[in-house]
């Protein structure tokens, strides 16, 4: 049986009067690429932020590795946040925060930029790069941390098809490096290409968690079926 990466036990999240996540339980296995699908406002991003620890659950708990320490992890957002400094310094900054000794930072940052093909841009100011280039820097910055799990929140939503393809390629490279992937997307084609498993969220509840082929062939939950028919009718 596969190693558990993260287990959510009756996770609940309330914001003011509204309950955004209703007692969700979920287990994701290590080494899988999981795509979270669902309609707008279903709670996908909230769920991912809970897992990453950006927000605290109102109730329930999160267990890592079946009871171990929280593994190194990183998150890439829809709009990359670039600090006003060079590409290399953006990556080094993340390493600094992660406690990497000063002597190693530069070499590690240069190595990761090399692997994502951004070496020529290493000394350019990150803010003046194109959206696609910035998102690749964000991925490099995340990868430099050697995460066990990488969270991605609609990483290609603001990008053109060429840049999206490059980002997808990098996500696959990072996954093949042994990193688990949890990604929110609205792009069904992308989900089909990247996912091993699909988690479907609707109105703050998980309605199904199935392998990607099964999901697209015959979604188990009514909400997912409805969503798929709706989305596909537009494509």
């Amino acid at each position: 049986m596969a190693e558990p990466l993260i287990t959510l036990e009756s996770l609940r999240y309330e914001a003011g009067e509204r309950t955004l996540i209703h007692d969700v339980s979920l287990r994701l296995d290590a080494g899988r690429r999981t795509v979270v699908l669902g309609p707008n406002g279903a709670g996908k991003s909230v769920l991912m932020r809970l897992m990453h620890g950006l927000i605290e659950p109102t109730a329930g708990r999160i267990v890592w590795n079946g009871g171990g320490a929280r593994p190194p992890q990183a998150m890439v957002f829809q709009r990359p946040v670039m600090l006003r400094r060079s590409v290399l310094d953006n990556v080094s900054y993340a390493l600094y925060l992660a406690g990497v000794p000063a002597a190693e930072r530069r070499a590690r940052a240069e190595a990761v930029l090399e692997r994502v093909g951004l070496s020529p841009l290493a000394h350019r100011p990150a803010r003046v790069l194109s959206g696609g280039e910035q998102q690749r820097v964000a991925l490099a910055r995340a990868w430099a941390l050697r995460p066990r799990v990488l969270f991605l929140d609609e990483p290609t939503a603001s990008l053109d098809p060429g840049a999206s393809a490059e980002v997808e390629r990098l996500i696959r490279v990072i996954a093949d490096d042994g990193c688990s992937i949890v990604m929110v997307t609205h792009h069904l084609g992308q989900a089909r290409r990247l996912a091993d498993d699909i988690v479907f969220v609707d109105a703050g509840r998980i309605t199904e968690h199935t392998p990607v082929a099964d999901f697209f062939a015959a979604p188990r939950s009514e909400q997912a079926g409805h969503y798929l028919r709706g989305e596909l009718s537009w494509t």
Partner: protein, 276 residues
């Protein structure tokens, strides 16, 4: 991280520079004199102090305020010597124990300044109380310092001498400005108002517009200046020796001559009258 470190180094360097840059200090040996706007703005000190400094090596730092404020500043111990012109207030200052001894230095005189059109018909008069009565009767605009200065105190004494109860007759014609001699003259110039001024400030005042001297020469317009050393028993940090040196010099033959020598357009502003 280099960037933050670089910013820090630049900041620290700037800090060191800013703090290390010493403020240009003219002399280590100085006294602080609280005095009146009339002596400062008439240019008397500019004429007097370099002579004194050349003679003794003591720099005199003058803070020019109204007489009332100048005495208050000395009461708090922020001056070594006061050089003002309100005998009654000065004597009170001594009586309270803040001053050592009052010595008379010089006098000039107050003048009544007013518009050339002279709506109160007082021009050329020699009796200041008659002139003030006429101004009040005509309800002609009058600007008062209203700042507890020596000139303000003199003005209030003169109204009283004229038998006018200001509080009872004050109206739109009487403008209480709460300002120094210069600003009050600026106000009078723009309003074509009458104003009691000291001759020194008037002679050096440039923005006269239509104003001119209308009444002068009444002996009640006499304006006596006194100098007092702040009592070191009240304020131990007072620079007793240097302060006394300044007082001794202004009442000496040399100091008195220097005061007499100060002229604007050939006109003498202050008349030395220190007790021999």
């Amino acid at each position: 991280m280099d960037l933050i470190r670089r910013s820090f180094i630049a900041g620290a360097a700037a800090a060191a520079l800013a703090l290390a840059a010493p403020f240009a200090t003219a002399a280590d040996r100085f006294i602080t004199v609280s005095s009146t706007t009339s002596t400062e703005q008439s240019g008397l000190f500019k004429h007097l102090l370099p002579v004194f400094q050349a003679r003794t090596g003591i720099e005199v730092r003058v803070v020019a305020l109204g007489t009332g404020q100048a005495l208050d500043m000395a009461r708090r111990g922020d001056a070594d010597v006061v050089f003002v012109h309100d005998k009654a207030a000065e004597e009170k200052f001594i009586a309270e124990g803040f001053g050592v001894k009052r010595q008379e230095v010089m006098y000039n005189d107050f003048i009544l300044v007013g518009p050339k059109s002279d709506p109160a018909k007082v021009a050329g008069g020699k009796d200041i109380t008659e002139a003030l009565k006429a101004v009040q009767t005509a309800q002609a605009p009058f600007v008062s310092r209203g700042d507890k200065s020596g000139t303000h105190a003199a003005e209030l004494r003169l109204w009283k001498a004229a038998g006018i109860d200001l509080d009872a007759v004050k109206g739109a014609w009487y403008r209480d400005t709460g300002s120094g001699m210069g600003p009050a003259l600026n106000t009078a110039a723009s309003m074509n108002a009458y104003i009691l001024a000291d001759r020194g400030t008037w002679l050096s005042f440039k923005n006269r517009a239509d104003l001119t001297v209308v009444v002068e020469g009444d002996k009640r317009l006499f304006n006596q200046y006194g100098v007092i050393l702040v009592n070191p028993e009240k304020h131990p940090h007072v620079k007793k020796a240097d302060g006394q040196a300044f007082i001794d010099w202004v009442v000496s033959a040399e100091g008195q001559k220097a005061i007499a020598d100060y002229k604007i357009d050939g006109q003498q502003l202050f008349f030395p009258n220190a007790a021999k």
